[in-house]
Symmetry: C2
Subunit: 417 residues, 2 copies
């Protein structure tokens, strides 16, 4: 984050975007389940979608709409509580009907909205409920922070909190631009979105001017090092979708190649990715694994993902158990090239790192007093950072995950019911 | 199991094998932790080992001994409670000392025993304790069923029960031969052994005559469709090892190409693999996934393994929740080629199959009365079989796993302590 500053705001932070969310009654809790993000100007848009071959209807529709025209989109309509997956041709026509009626209700051209859904796989969209809620959705749309918050709330499922992020930055060309975003994701999280994966939904907005093909390239590139590096449970969802809308309200030339813009998109995606991992189902701790010294970027990513995805590492983390063998084991089966006798792992701390593994062996003292102190530290930490050095090259990568708790099992043994 | 018959026995079932096990005090519980299997005749031997690049000392030693001479081995020495992994050169010399002293105590030629260890990663082998127990280990060795049982007990860690299997069969050449085996494995189970993976340890014995290179080929081939198709937690261990000793006591020509012999090895490995999955840490149910109609064998194995490995499928199984979307989701991200609209999934039952997914959509009635009946059935079943038909070809594969319970988290949040 060299060129951009974070701000406490979401999708309405950039100029020319409005948002809103209402409850249609899909969720038993009565929480908001229908959300919208609107651009006041036709926007260039990009999307990345799950690589799962079992794809939800909104994924099919979103991809098709972007392929036919990615340069005059006006917004995103989200539904939570129902995934609209495994619903066949009816699922597609249900979702198209909902989009068409929403476009009509908001006086938008046909085909100008992108869809995203998340929730239970199998049931069909409750079209009538959604159509009945459109007048109140329209009445509640606005450009304020609270409107972005409503839209962020309306995409949640088992999430315990909304996820928003925003940055502002100055481009080389002088324009000040803003980027905002929101995401959901708590379970079925191991996104590999086109190329990425989870049910992670994300919507990013910016008032920068970026040409549509370039926008897709920027989104794909930055998603690879952010959303695609998150795992809660290793299950790559049928519905994963991240959209980025650029309405050009800030003016200026195409910002695609401006490092400040790319850094800004990365910062918003990384913040959202961390929030998704932190809010993983049942999670009590965020795990951040930074791999250094990998032979290739692919190796770095494999090793980082293997550690955050390891069921045994996750369970040990929940128990504040400094079981360093499980970390080495996960690195060892990740597929990354390494000499196991050169593996170093530590917990970076403000004043000095705490070594866990040195030259492929448990650090001295872990089995006595040092182990007890480490356990106390792990208990206190809300976020546990691990530095893994493969000493095999110069590539680096970061992955985010969370611990595996009793609550995870409880949530997922009964989610469907 | 066309050519062989199961029998209630383990590694001493074939002629010319003895076994035993004692407690050296490594485990706080005082349970047996040092085991031995001995052949009365020099045996041809084969081994498959973890593909994890972080490999325990006994894996290094076992592989080296088999490479230098696979045709005059006399047994396997197992230690449980300590993995002897991440122990550097000292770990190798510790284990070699233990082997040498055991060979001396049993009057065996130097280099004639193969090692296997399982347990906590990091600590060194308690060499003195082990050496002190050698006289009682020797005194307790015998050829009876109870001796095989002791050896099977002595390899367990978090396992709740020993795992043994045996078959007898008649070869084409007329000889009657026997195959026996034992295994351990409960957590860190996702074996890909050389080529296989887990901490799964297995020792198989047979009195058939099989030449050493052929024995390795048979073991590798049969492990691929049995041990390599088991997942408890997706973590491929540093210690996975399966040995097969053939002492030729039954006489006859080389049985390597005899389908009856191969089927026998498969039957023993499959029985042990199922027992490992059934006894997965915290497991309350065995999950058996049979994939049919895959385009290739690789696709079939990928799809079957993805379903048994899915955290969300496993949690739903624990909750007896017929959440069929999670099954389709796992098949979808497995990498297997399929048309999602042709996916069929059912639970085979003695009288008729219960459809869960038909043509890629949830079977009719799952959301009302059918769902309740299915939930009741899932609650009752100790073993849940799933038939998955990709309708994309003719290849088939079976994988074994288990559910994800509160007990799994409990066991693994505190295993190290």
């Amino acid at each position: 984050m060299t060129h951009a500053q974070r701000a406490a705001a979401g999708v309405t932070f950039p100029n020319g975007f409005r948002a809103g969310g209402v409850s249609t009654g899909i969720k038993r809790s009565g929480r908001p389940d229908l959300g919208i993000v609107l651009s006041d100007l036709p926007a260039n848009a990009a999307g990345v979608f799950t690589t799962n071959v079992v794809r939800a209807a909104p994924v099919e529709i979103g991809e098709r709409r972007l392929r036919s025209d990615a340069s005059s989109l006006l917004g995103v309509l989200t539904v939570s509580g129902v995934a609209n997956a495994m619903t066949g041709p009816e699922g597609v026509s249900d979702n198209e009907e909902v989009l068409t009626e929403t476009e009509r209700a908001f006086d938008l051209p046909r085909g100008s909205l992108l869809p995203a859904c998340t929730g239970v796989i199998g049931p069909r969209l409750p079209v009538d409920r959604i159509l009945a809620a459109l007048p109140s959705l329209r009445a509640g749309v606005g450009a304020g922070r609270e409107h972005a918050d409503r839209a962020a709330l309306a995409m949640l499922t088992t999430d315990t909190r909304p996820k928003e992020a925003a940055v502002r930055l100055r481009l080389r060309s002088g324009e000040r631009v803003r980027i905002g975003g929101m995401a959901k994701g708590s379970g079925m999280i191991a996104p590999q979105l086109g190329p990425l994966h989870a049910t992670t939904l994300g919507v990013l907005t910016t008032d920068a001017h970026v040409d549509a093909p370039d926008l897709a390239a920027v989104l794909e590139h930055e998603v690879d090092s952010t959303f695609n590096m998150v795992s809660v449970d290793g299950d790559t969802s049928t519905n994963d979708t991240v959209y980025l809308l650029a309405n050009g309200a800030a003016g200026g030339p195409n910002a695609a190649d401006d490092p400040a813009f790319r850094d800004g998109v990365h910062a918003v995606l990384e913040s959202l990715a961390r929030q998704v991992a932190r809010d993983g189902e049942g999670a009590t701790k965020l795990l951040t694994v930074r791999v250094h010294g990998a032979h290739t970027l692919t190796d770095a990513r494999r090793a980082a993902r293997a550690v955050v995805s390891s069921t045994l590492v996750k369970a040990a983390l929940f128990g504040a158990d400094p079981n360093v063998g499980r970390i080495a084991c996960a690195v060892g089966y990740s597929g990354a090239k390494l000499d196991p006798t050169r593996l170093d792992v530590s917990i970076p701390r403000p004043h000095r790192s705490i070594p866990l593994i040195v030259d492929g062996r448990p650090a001295d003292g872990l089995d006595n007093g040092g182990g007890r102190r480490l356990r106390d530290l792990l208990r206190q930490l809300d976020e546990v950072p691990l530095d893994v050095d493969l000493n095999a090259g110069r590539a680096t990568a970061t992955a985010w995950g969370c611990d595996l708790s009793y609550a995870y099992v409880q949530i997922n043994a009964a989610y469907h019911s």
